[in-house]
């Protein structure tokens, strides 16, 4: 068995999500190569080469791969696939965008968002917004897999000394092009890998009030999340949404402020180690999963909490 993990990166930094996919690949067993596709991304390949347990790093450095367009990247991965038994990528937005195309080009199925490796062909994955866990056996010769990062501890980023091999092959489908992007800039830790997450819901009432969470987050070194209701109401940016259709987090501490705890939200955070709920409605479903619940008005609690920390 040889596994190929496709690296998640922004052309400068190897994202921690990659290390979770590496960890899943290591549980499958066999040798492990990493593929870095991008533009001017040699530093990413060098970081990838230091990841513990990596045999070699394949570097495809070309403008065609610069913005992770799935039409281009999938052609390359599908061609490399003949040498591999498993293709894995973290189920980030890039992973979800790319991997099903790879699977289709190879005429194989894909197993999405695995949270457990039972054997080289059997995996567990959540279905129905995490309300059931399916154990699935992949029947195709090449297994195409996306990995839920909260299901696997990150593999050690250092300790390896792999060779970096350049790939000259360029796939340019020419059917799509990058126009622009608006990325949120934040000094806070990344939501999906933060140790503490503070999330706000509709109960906050306005975008200004939502900023009350920021001071608390700064004190705790926390990332800020949001419920769908808070995002739809314009209190928070969409990339902060936690839930079935947003990001999946499993921090040590999750503080839910003024959010009810709909099924779709719980899908994104119920694997947190400790959950705190602050809500004035004691019937709110969030209290059914909270380790510590405080039934109170968040506008009184938040300033007190900030002072107490």
């Amino acid at each position: 068995m040889v596994n190929l993990v496709i690296a998640e990166h922004d052309n400068q930094v190897l994202k921690p999500a990659t290390l979770c996919a590496v960890s899943a690949a290591q549980q499958i067993g066999g040798e492990l190569d990493l593929l870095v596709m991008g533009q001017d991304c040699r530093t990413v390949a060098e970081s990838a080469a230091r990841v513990s347990g990596v045999r070699k790093v394949l570097l495809a450095d070309h403008p065609a791969y610069g913005h992770q367009l799935a039409e281009n990247g999938s052609g390359l991965v599908a061609e490399l696939a003949v040498d591999y038994s498993h293709l894995l990528m973290a189920s980030t937005s890039n992973g979800k965008n790319l991997m099903p195309r790879v699977a289709a080009l190879l005429d194989v199925g894909q197993i999405s968002d695995i949270i457990r490796v039972d054997s080289a062909d059997t995996f567990a994955r959540p279905i129905y917004a995490g309300n059931a866990i399916a154990t699935v056996q992949a029947l195709d010769a090449i297994k195409v897999i996306t990995v839920r990062t909260t299901g696997f501890d990150a593999a050690p980023a250092e300790g390896g000394n792999a060779v970096v091999e350049s790939i000259d092959k360029v796939f340019e489908a020419g059917v799509s092009r990058f126009v622009s992007e608006q990325l949120a800039v934040s000094e806070r830790p990344e939501l999906t890998s933060a140790r503490v997450v503070i999330s706000g819901g509709r109960g906050l009432g306005s975008q200004q009030n939502f900023q009350m969470l920021e001071r608390l987050a700064d004190k705790l070194g926390a990332a800020i999340g949001a419920s769908r209701a808070a995002v739809d109401a314009g209190y928070a940016a969409n990339d902060m949404q936690v839930g079935q259709t947003g990001k999946i987090v499993a921090p040590e501490l999750y503080i839910a402020v003024g959010l009810s705890g709909a099924i779709q939200h719980l899908a994104g955070m119920k694997d947190a180690k400790v959950i705190v709920a602050i809500n004035k409605d004691e019937e709110a479903p969030i209290f059914q999963v909270a380790d510590y619940g405080l039934v109170a008005d968040l506008f009184e609690v938040l300033p007190e909490l900030e002072k107490a920390l």
Binding site: H67, E71, S74, T92, N94, K96, N97, P100, R101, V102, A104, V108, G109, Q110, I111, S112, D113, P126, I127, Y128, A129, G130, N131, A132, I133, A134, T135, V136, Q137, L139, D140, V175, S176, R177, F178, E181, Q182, L183, A184, T192, V231, D232, A237, N238, D239, Q244, T245, E252, L253, I263, Q264, K270, V274, V276, A290, Y292, V295, V301, E304, A308
Partner: protein, 249 residues
């Protein structure tokens, strides 16, 4: 341009599913079913494109049991012109769905295929990308804004760090995210009219697509149950518990 939009029949999003006692699947008997919420958004977008004069005809496609006709009628009531049901009682995997869609795309030659980004039952998030690969069409997933710009389609996508805009050559596959639009309710007169709109019933054999299994469902279990903890009286007690009992701050 012709727009093809896909509709999946799934368990209603508010239903808390229960796993069957023999762990073979979840219990779908006597459970409220509906249109997958992401598909509803795709249908709404197709109708808006028609209202804006961009789309000329909207074809709604569903795959699954005979009862999925209900979901197609919903799409017709919202504003689709005609519908195709590919009837199959067995579980259709995303790759099979994509292959069937690719055949329909070949026959109908739409300029745009709109799909939900994922179905809320299997949570796969695959079929749109697979269709795009099989048909050689451009792809934009997780769309929160779609605009025609000359002979290109500009699509803004919800990505991990924020938003990204791509320009697609047509024909294209776009999978939609929650924030693309607010789907309308079908009015009673439109529901009545929808009953008269054409709905073709086909089978996978009609399209020459073989139902090959790529995976086997071995077991479906309930997730570990999380117990409700304690209610604390005030902030001081909360901070004390987090510091000394949970030791997380």
């Amino acid at each position: 341009m012709k727009v093809l939009v896909t509709v999946k029949r799934v368990i209603d999003y508010n239903v808390k599913v229960r796993v069957l006692p023999d762990y073979t699947d979840v219990d779908l008997k006597n459970v409220k079913m509906g249109v997958n919420p992401f598909c509803e958004i795709a249908v709404e977008e197709a109708v808006r494109l028609k209202e804006a004069g961009v789309a000329s005809e909207i074809i709604a496609v569903a795959m699954g049991p005979a009862s999925a006709q209900e979901q197609l009628r919903t799409a017709l009531a919202i504003g689709a012109d005609r519908a195709i049901l590919v009837q199959a009682e067995e579980r259709l995997e995303p790759l099979t769905v994509a292959k069937l869609l690719a055949r329909i795309v070949e026959q109908e030659q739409p300029g745009l295929v709109l799909m939900g980004k994922q179905s809320i039952d299997t949570d796969n998030n695959q079929a749109g990308q697979m269709l795009s690969a099989l048909s050689g069409m451009s792809q934009a997933t997780f769309a929160s804004r779609i605009e025609q710009n000359g002979d290109e389609l500009h699509v803004t996508r919800e990505v991990d760090g924020g938003l990204q805009t791509l320009a697609l050559k047509l024909p294209a596959v776009v999978t939609v995210d929650l924030r693309l639009n607010e789907p309308r309710y079908a009015s009673l007169p439109n529901i009545m009219k929808a009953k008269k709109k054409p709905l073709d019933i086909k089978t996978p054999e009609d399209y020459g697509v073989e139902l090959r299994a790529h995976s086997k469902l071995l077991k479906v279990e309930p997730p570990p149950v999380r117990q409700a903890g304690v209610k604390v009286a005030d902030v001081a007690e909360l901070v004390d518990k987090l510091k000394n009992e949970a030791k997380v701050i």
